[in-house]
Symmetry: C2
Subunit: 318 residues, 2 copies
Amino acid sequence: MDVQGLVAQAREGRPRAVARLISLVEGASPQLREVMAALAPLTGGAYVVGLTGSPGVGKSTSTSALVTAYRKRGKRVGVLAVDPSSPFSGGALLGDRVRMSEHASDPGVYIRSMATRGHLGGLAWAAPQAIRVLDAADCEVIFVETVGVGQSEVEIAAQADTSVVLLAPGMGDGIQAAKAGILEIGDVYVVNKADREGADATARELNHMLGLGAPRAPGDWRPPIVKTVAARAEGVEEVVEALEKHRAWMEERGVLAERRLRRAALEVEHIAVTALRERIGDLSGDQHLDALAERIVAGALDPYAAADELIAGLTNRL
Amino acid sequence: MDVQGLVAQAREGRPRAVARLISLVEGASPQLREVMAALAPLTGGAYVVGLTGSPGVGKSTSTSALVTAYRKRGKRVGVLAVDPSSPFSGGALLGDRVRMSEHASDPGVYIRSMATRGHLGGLAWAAPQAIRVLDAADCEVIFVETVGVGQSEVEIAAQADTSVVLLAPGMGDGIQAAKAGILEIGDVYVVNKADREGADATARELNHMLGLGAPRAPGDWRPPIVKTVAARAEGVEEVVEALEKHRAWMEERGVLAERRLRRAALEVEHIAVTALRERIGDLSGDQHLDALAERIVAGALDPYAAADELIAGLTNRL
């Protein structure tokens, strides 16, 4: 099937076409550029929500409960579960039954797992392309679920319009989250498993660490802390309210457009640097780089002058 | 003072000139290129030994003892102590009295601390330039001491001709070292504090983890494990012997030349990629990148096509 045909089918809501397109962008296939070009005019409609937190806080359960809540509102929903420790391969068919069986038969929900293959850095930049596929496939809300323990996953979460940071009581999670650098990225905080002992203490600790008690300029966003028991859907409506409030605030203040511009710029820069690095790798293939290294070791050239020569050699290929 | 004058003074063994040159290459000063060009024909004579290990294994004591041993042999010695947690700033004068007071007044020893400033990645690539300064200043042996807990420090250690991995008994160090990825890089292993309980067990564990018991092809290097009590200089002569044996083996087999070529090639590639990245950053300054991001958000362009445009815009600047 050609790319245009796949995109047309994805628009009509055919899950296999969506799955095939995600595989094409995820695997950096030869058709990647054709797919991206075909998707571009169809994107920008989805509201992208990142969910992150340490293992065990109940991310999948929370995501599943949020999907249910948005489905009740009649929204088409996409889920991208990015988990380097996930046993599900990136090539799995859409509809990940083990993770979210209750939504598997719902045609209004797309679920996709992305596992680490090789470089996590690569995965972090495959995620936005997969989000574009779901966006073009008319998903109105897209949840991107990450483990939130590595820098790359924090980067993925930062690519969302709204970032939700999940914690659970009694796991020393505040400090863990602070270490992982995810405390700074939250627009909404959720203390899940709030029926457990220590939930209030965790919320207080979080409130303190975030300096939420301090006065803010009028109109600034004050990240709410919502307590949930996702397994029983308790508090999930409050999370949805917090998300919609944040989205409305971002739209009013121009923050949403700003965030999307910033993300697009970072993405282009990353793709360009990766492409340039690959071309430098190509040069080393034709032994230009080896020849430069020999002159450095012989003392005939310094590494900075060699880098200049390498870059000059690139102009013919740009 | 001009760069040529500084280099001439460094050749004569003036410590202040050496210190000034290291500051110039470390801080990426405007004269960096001039310094590197002036140093190139003077380098290649030094034998560079990397020392790495977790905090507390006695790296500084071991380095100090090795310096003493090489000084007894009449060799001029340089020490570059790379430590991101070090309280000594990179701008400290040569002769770091706190770390190695006994060598502070020896004109045949240069000691330099490099602390993290900002990016550790940057530091990793400032180290080889500082090594070049010490090399050009006629140091015959240069010790590069790193903490060996981060990837960047492992990279620094890998830039040496010979890598020494230090461990101490009773610290669960084998596993720590394996985690940090430093077990694979050792050409010589040292179990320091060998008067403590568990030294033999640590050596055995190491022997097992490295598969040193397994047969090797004749002529292959079999990393020795040396036990030392560096604080009393016990076993240090054996370490020197192991170093010299490794150096002779590398020279015989052409491994030394190979390693230096490989290192030079990686260094050039890194400098070139960094330079290209900076130029892309410059482009964003003149709002080309912002304009591309706007077209992406509007759905008029995809990020890969935008990256192509960005790279095309670079040709004028290369």
